[in-house]
Subunit: 241 residues, 2 copies
């Protein structure tokens, strides 16, 4: 399994991905699921992936090869994020074409976030079929993979105007909840924050279990939840008798 | 969809079920999913159901009919909770037998909790195949239906020694998280608390949206979460720059 979340907020983008892959619980490995593209002062593009690893690796490799060969449409020459999403979707469909005779699930889901000079930052959710939707102010975040455990905190605490710093804390809490409830999602986490209009390709940060800040907010959050639960008033007399 | 949680704790049992059923988002109805059986001073048995409504209704109806006819094995004459779980599983298999030729999912999942005089309270998770597992001190709760959104709070706050009063608050918070994130789970909720060794058949309580206590703890919880999130220290300088 995998868990990736991407937020497109007023101040910029916040992206976090886990790095655990598994083929059964007895076959677990670490693979990066957050892939950075771009040219400083011109464009920043980041792809997060969930689903079949062979498929997502093939998509990323093909996208990188086309940039290197600089022939035809590629992520460093498309004119808009919409075109980039379309290119990623097409690449995904191409990769899946050769496996379609086989009765197995080779699909993957992708998130594409970024900014191209002259446009606002955008975030796309690219489905396994290659079509896609874009995030809006009403729906400023997308998740792929194991999304449920970590969704309640996002639904409560996040909106388009949330600062990217607070959104990052919120994303880390969402990962904490997911990691506690599902063994197939695990650290290290790859996180990346992009400030709107900076147009500088960020390097992102890899966050390991021994990261002091990660450890501290996990503990702080857990204690805060328990204290809040303990402070809830008990039911009235005879409420459930 | 459906969400049911059942806890078997040192002090007794805490059970909560939602009541929303749906066949597509345009066909939503209210059906009770928590069914009470028993004889005061002798036995208390409660079944919660998730999955195909026709199947779970047939199972409950057959179990009630057999009690009424008082022939053969039924829930009011079996000698142990284990036998009761076995009877419920067998009844489920019988109901599903006639549909097995059809390529559709008619399955349902059931939780059986209760106490029969001379035994400890017990909680069984009965799978769609009719086999079952029993809860233990290590794993004091089971969920069926839409379990993921509401699991993190249970994983953090609940253990076998949690008081039933606190466990009830914890269960209601788990429902709050689920209801906020999944439209197919909805009020009214049916809740039931059974104090170990009382052997009195509880009537349970139906909790509607306008219930003042439910409203109050939802608000209190939401504010507590937001305050905890706001109080998390921000990342160190250059943490993600």
């Amino acid at each position: 399994m995998t868990y990736c979340v991407a937020m497109r907020l007023n101040e910029g983008l916040v992206l976090v991905s886990d790095s655990r892959t598994n083929a059964g619980v007895d076959h677990i490995a670490v693979f990066r699921k957050l892939h950075i593209f771009g040219i400083d002062h011109e464009r920043v593009l980041v792809i997060q992936s969930a689903g079949n690893l062979a498929t997502s690796q093939a998509v990323i490799t093909l996208l990188r090869q086309r940039i290197k060969q600089d022939e035809g449409r590629h992520l460093h020459n498309v004119g808009s994020l919409f075109e980039a999403a379309s290119l990623v979707g097409d690449t995904l469909r191409d990769v899946l074409k050769k496996y379609k005779e086989q009765d197995m699930d080779f699909s993957c889901s992708l998130l594409l976030a970024g900014q191209i000079k002259g446009e606002e930052p955008q975030l796309y959710n690219i489905y396994p079929q290659g079509n896609f939707i874009v995030s809006t102010e009403d729906t400023p975040y997308f998740q792929i993979g194991e999304s449920k455990y970590g969704k309640p905190i996002l639904d409560r605490a996040l909106d388009y105007k949330t600062s990217i710093e607070k959104a990052l804390r919120c994303a880390l809490i969402s990962f904490d909840s997911t990691i506690r409830s599902n063994l197939s999602v695990g650290t290290p986490l790859d996180l990346l924050v992009y400030k709107k209009d900076s147009l500088l390709v960020p390097s992102g940060r890899r966050l390991h279990d021994d990261d002091p800040y990660w450890h501290m907010i996990r503990t702080h959050w857990s204690e805060g939840l328990k204290a809040t639960l303990a402070s809830l008033p008990p039911p009235p007399d005879n409420y459930w008798a």
